[in-house]
Amino acid sequence: MSYELTRRGFLAGAAAAGVTVLGQPWANVAYATDGKIVVRVDEDLQNLDPANRAGPIDVNVILAVGQGLVKFKPGTTEWENDAAAEIKQVSDTLIEFRLKEGLKFTGGYGDLTAEDVKFSFERFKPAADGSKVTYADDWAALDSVEVTGPLTGKIHLKAPSPAVWLIALADGSGVIISKKAFEALGDKFKTTAIGSGPYILKEWVPRDHFTLVANPDYIGEKPAFSEIVGKPITDDKTAQLALQAGEIDFSRIDPAVAKDVEASKGLKVEKLSAIDYVWIGPNIEKKPFDDVRVRQAIRKAIDVPAIIAAAYNGAVDQAFALEAPGLLGHWQDAPRYERDLDGARALLEEAGLGGGFSTRLTVLNKAVTQATAAVVQANLAEIGIDVQIEALDPGAYWAYGENDASKNLELVLVEYRGKFDPGFQTQWFTSDQIGTWNWQRWSNKDFDALHRQGLIEPDPKKREQIYIDAQKLMDESAAFWWITHNAYTFAFKDGLLPGILPNGNQWQYASFKKA
């Protein structure tokens, strides 16, 4: 039998194939179904070992699969019991706990016991050869964990450490792992999440998706969704289109497109103020920035509201100090500097720089940071300062944090992520961070002392004052020109209530609810 392909036949065949493909039942049908949601994550998972996790994408899964002694209450910075039936601070350096009965690890790794707690936390201490896990600093105050029974134990601290509750116990570094699983899985432990929490990591197809399914053995409140699929989507625009096309149910979006997305049928948009800290500052070892008058002049010249309007589309609030609103140590009465070009010029004149000067502003090559730099460039041109913008890719930009490279900076725009304890924020500005993350090489012995004092002060009132005093010293230096604490914009399907902690980065998958 022979078959001759005619032009008419070819066209008919092509049309039939097109109809077949377009007519598939999945066309124009939302991906999400009852009991299942699809969330967009910015990047793929990297490392599911709580002690060596790479970032928030990992920790969100680690916290969904695992349990700590305590966990954050949904959407707040307060904690509540998780695996612990009882936990109390007996003294400044002693915490006692009793585990709930019947907690089981997935994968057949047996009961969760106090031995597992000891193993999980003591991994953060330096090993015999001096090597440390990535998040070792979270448990820097840990001396030892004493097992007093199958389900009871004592956490001994080397010194008082109020931060240990929010930074370690309630966060990713407080997740209890199975000692048996860790020893059995070896190097595969970092890609296999074993826990006793509300979800099981059913599968992780690298660069495509991961799937969390409800853990049938979890003894706490069952999660609202039986399945959560995480899809790594790097590009914000793709994520927006996928939301609008109904392929995903939840995503962080670019604030600039919030109105467009909100206008889409069946989608809601929510803005969440974050606790990051974004600022511009000089390398104060470099001339002329070693002169406080020059720093004050620039602070008077920079128009932060204009930056927020131009670079952030007005979607964030202005910051006036290091600690964000809502955090312990937030400085409510921090000075609000108005733009004053005459005052700025007078200060430069006084510093002998009435004719202006040239400098370089280093930024990350993101749209927002480059727009910020452009506004600053225009602002400073008005007082005779010629700013060259150096926009670097993440690899080159973050290289300023190694090998003392920050000594080559002049002006720099920095954005750091915040945590719920104020001491996490102040640590990057101490003298011993010069050469690593104190890029401005700002050194103040009183600030260093306040930071150390804040770490061990158990009284919250006194701690609050310590951190406010520390921020006053930063303000006096005029070396930090605060822009914003950031805000995250999320879009999601009607009928979904996402569970997000107040930093905007940490998503509590088990707290995602149906509206």
């Binding site: 077949t20 493909v21 377009l22 598939q24 999945w26 066309a27 124009n28 990047e43 793929d44 990297q46 490392n47 060596n52 790479a54 970032g55 050869d129 001096g130 090597s131 440390k132 896990v133 990535t134 998040y135 070792a136 600093d137 190097d187 595969k188 970092k190 890609t191 690298p206 660069r207 495509d208 899809k231 790594p232 989507i233 790097t234 590009d235 625009k237 793709t238 289109l241 996928a242 609008q244 096309a245 109904g246 392929e247 995903i248 670097l392 890719d393 993440p394 690899g395 080159a396 930009y397 973050w398 290289a399 944090g401 190694e402 090998n403 993350w437």
Partner: protein
């Protein structure tokens, strides 16, 4: 068969091209390794983040081979690559060979289907324009072709997604489709394929037009017309075959270009292909993955060009003749 295709000459020609191909592969990887010395940013520090301890950073540097001298890194890489081992992803601990092999089919299917579509549309457009030179249709097609060439694939990708996925809901936005499910994969392929092909449609159309115009002015075409051959037959049977030869030549380059262009398209459509794999790896300076991907991309580029060279010599009698003369010492 022409003398050029005798066993000896074919072997010599193949061996010389193969040697060049090996040099290109070694050179590209050596260049890549030396770039890691110049490009700012310690990969280990970037991968591990601000909180990584110096010990962990050092361990990662060793795992990535960054502590070895340049020549040793290139040597070690090729020694392992020859055994099918492209190294280990230092982040996940997965085999780079497995990662590349999982991503490669998606990119090859995308690149080949895009070039196929470009040929399928570009040649007829070029023919129509060439047989009516200077006409309104030719001018319209010229503007159309140049517009296609000038439009970046990522712009086309976003527009296609907006109209066909968001507004009409005909095609999916994300991914490459369910593995083993042909129709689903085809459904996911159509928009990225069109986005990637669009620029090449215009390019091939312009190339075929100019080439066909040149061939149509050749004496043998005049002779064919003088013999009373119908114009349609003259163009399709005699002229187009020769006019397509330059198109074949650029297809080798085209495949390489499309593998590069696939980066944007794969990122926008979230396709887990080689382009997006290398993009993600470069962002975090994951050099073992970058090296593995680059080796495969360069190898595909080199092999494709090799095949095109052979095809070119096979298709064009003038090339065969030139090479045959060169083999016999230049006398004719």
């Amino acid at each position: 068969m022409n003398g050029f295709w005798s066993k000896g000459s074919l072997a010599r020609y193949g061996a010389s091209r193969l040697a060049t191909a090996v040099l290109v592969l070694v050179g590209s990887i050596a260049l890549l390794c030396s770039l890691t010395l110049i490009v700012p940013g310690d990969p280990a520090r970037i991968l591990l983040g601000a909180r990584a301890t110096p010990e962990l950073v050092e361990t990662f540097r060793q795992q990535m081979g960054l502590n070895l001298p340049l020549y040793e890194r290139v040597f070690v890489f090729f020694r392992h690559a020859l055994q099918g081992d492209l190294g280990t992803d230092v982040i996940s601990g997965r085999s780079v060979t497995d990662m590349v092999m999982a991503a490669l089919p998606n990119t090859i299917v995308l690149a080949l289907s895009a070039i196929g579509l470009a040929v399928l549309l570009g040649i007829p457009i070029g023919c129509y324009a060439a047989v009516r030179p200077g006409s309104l249709l030719d001018q319209v097609l010229a503007v159309f072709s140049v517009s296609l060439v000038a439009t970046p694939s990522y712009v086309v990708a976003i527009l296609l997604l907006y109209f066909f996925s968001v507004r009409l809901g005909w095609f999916p936005v994300l991914g490459a489709g369910e593995p083993g499910h042909f129709l689903d994969q085809l459904h996911h392929l159509i928009l990225p394929m069109v986005a990637l092909a669009v620029g090449w449609v215009g390019y091939i159309a312009r190339l075929v037009r100019s080439s066909l115009l040149e061939v149509l002015s050749e004496p043998f075409i005049r002779t064919a017309r003088a013999y009373g051959q119908p114009e349609r037959r003259v163009v399709m049977k005699y002229a187009l075959k020769l006019a397509c030869i330059p198109t074949v030549a650029i297809l080798g380059v085209g495949i390489g270009e499309l593998m590069g262009g696939a980066v944007f398209v794969e990122v926008i459509f979230n396709r887990p292909g080689l382009g997006s794999l290398v993009f993600d790896a470069i962002r975090v300076r994951n050099y073992p993955v970058v090296q593995g991907c680059i080796l495969i991309i360069v190898a595909i580029f080199v092999v494709t060009n090799l095949l095109v060279d052979f095809a070119y010599a096979w298709l064009d009698p003038r090339v065969r003749e030139t090479l045959g003369r060169a083999r016999s010492g230049g006398g004719a």
